[in-house]
């Protein structure tokens, strides 16, 4: 494949992601709206379809404010550093048997490694703002994300043991060969993965880094206009990425009955996960910070280790 095809592929993915985020935000507001017995956004376009586009245009025309007290260089780099990894992850996702970007043999490891860089952007943004709310939001966010990264990474090891590969395509092909999705033999890992994923995404009920009732807006309090937009964009792109990873690891990627093409199955399963995050937001109250930290270290990590032990013994037993 030549460079031009690669660039084209990357541009298509970027365009698709921007569109997906635009409508994921509308979808979220609609879902939560209906769950709270109100219609949600419905003024801009039919069914509120242009709502997010209007929001983005508004952000584009907002004045770009950099506080005098802020550390200017870091303040400017932070949103870019938060966004780039969330997009770079998508280089390696296997959308269907034939639609794969970079077919890395260390796909899963690449995904986990790159996605951790976003944390650095959050910390830089919070610290450089020189604002108390930002600082509290940022250090809380970092403590939470690094605590839940360990159970997340450990839960994936169970899948890796069974498959014996880190490549996204091979993980799905393995599920095809054994004739079932890995959610069945790796159910414990799936539960641990889902809970840690919510904490990693800073979504309700674990949205402490931007607990608006106590921290105004958390680490991006001082950001306005498009710099703020890139933090939000990173957050939603990351939500899509985690859904894509969950689809590949546990729900059989593009596998499904033949009446729909593989990529559609993949996207449908991803939409299910997206809906799940929104559903939780409308259902559960915010957790307390000490409960949250304790739960990750004392419940999820032991469970994930237990899952690795069980899976390893079964794997060697079965040969």
């Amino acid at each position: 494949m030549d460079l031009l095809t690669m660039i084209l592929y990357a541009v298509i993915i970027l365009g698709a992601l921007l569109g997906a985020v635009t409508y994921a935000i509308l979808f979220e507001r609609k879902v939560i709206g209906y769950m709270q017995l109100r219609p949600g956004p419905n003024r801009h376009g039919p069914w509120g379809l242009f709502q997010t586009i209007a929001d983005v245009m508004k952000l584009l025309m907002k004045e770009d404010i950099i506080p005098t007290a802020a550390d200017k260089k870091i303040f400017i780099i932070a949103p870019v550093l938060a966004f780039v990894p969330s997009f770079a992850i998508f280089a390696t996702i296997a959308w269907s048997e034939n639609i794969v970007g970079a077919d890395l043999n260390i796909g899963v490891l690449y995904f986990i490694g790159i996605s951790s860089i976003t944390t650095l952007g959050v910390l830089m943004g919070g610290w450089s703002s020189n604002n108390k709310y930002s600082l509290l939001g940022a250090i809380r966010g970092v403590a939470q994300v690094i605590s839940y990264e360990i159970p997340l990474v450990l839960s994936i090891i169970g899948v890796v043991i069974l498959v014996g590969s880190l490549n996204f395509r091979e993980i799905v092909l393995y599920q095809e060969s054994i004739g079932m999705w890995l959610i069945i033999p790796q159910f414990l890992a799936f539960i641990v993965y889902m809970i840690s994923a919510i904490a990693e995404l800073n979504r309700s009920p674990f949205d402490l880094p931007e607990a608006e009732s106590e921290l105004v807006s958390g680490y991006h309090t001082e950001y306005s206009g498009f710099r703020f937009a890139f933090f939000m964009l990173a957050e939603y792109v990351y939500a899509i990425a985690i859904s894509a990873l969950a689809t590949t690891l546990f729900l059989g990627g593009w596998l499904g009955p033949a009446f729909l093409p593989g990529i559609l199955w993949f996207l449908l399963k991803m939409c299910f996960f997206m809906f799940f995050w929104f559903w939780l937001r409308a259902t559960l109250p915010r957790a307390r910070v000490d409960h949250l930290m304790g739960f990750g270290w004392k419940v999820l990590i032991p469970l994930a280790l237990l899952n690795i032990v069980i899976t390893a013994i079964i794997k060697v037993w079965m040969g």
């Binding site: 990357a10 993915i13 584009l60 890395l104 250090i139 710099r227």
Partner: protein, 122 residues
């Protein structure tokens, strides 16, 4: 689409460059559209409407430092588990025993920090 080993990484670099280009491009383009009217009050730190006091770049609580240390230890050990997990199919019982001992030590470390109340959050 068959890709060579290094081609895959060129692909990754293309993604990273495009990822940088989008925010840089959008912010540069936005300069044509957005107003620019800064004054002191607007550029002061937001503190819920009152005059901001003091600096926010302070030393924060030591509990965060301990969590970070704990994270580094466990994260490095997880990285060791990945190659083991990948090769387990070929390693058989010997590899399994080694891995289980490693995980047992890991669990022991977790239990120790639990007992030492490192995992408490106050």
């Amino acid at each position: 689409m068959e890709l060579g080993y290094f081609d895959s990484y060129i692909f990754v670099i293309v993604f990273i460059l495009l990822g940088v280009a989008l925010p840089v491009g959008a912010l540069t383009f936005g300069r044509l559209l957005r107003p620019k009217n800064p004054y002191d009050k607007k550029l002061s730190t937001y503190e819920s409407g009152i005059e901001p006091t003091g600096d926010a770049q302070v030393r924060f609580h030591a509990a965060y430092y301990i969590v970070a240390l704990e994270f580094v230890i466990f994260d490095v050990e997880t990285v060791f588990l990945y190659p083991w997990a990948m090769a387990l199919g070929e390693l058989g019982w010997v590899g399994l025993n080694g891995g289980l001992i490693f995980i047992a030590i890991l669990a022991l470390g977790l239990a120790y920090s639990w007992k030492k109340k490192v995992l408490e959050w106050n």
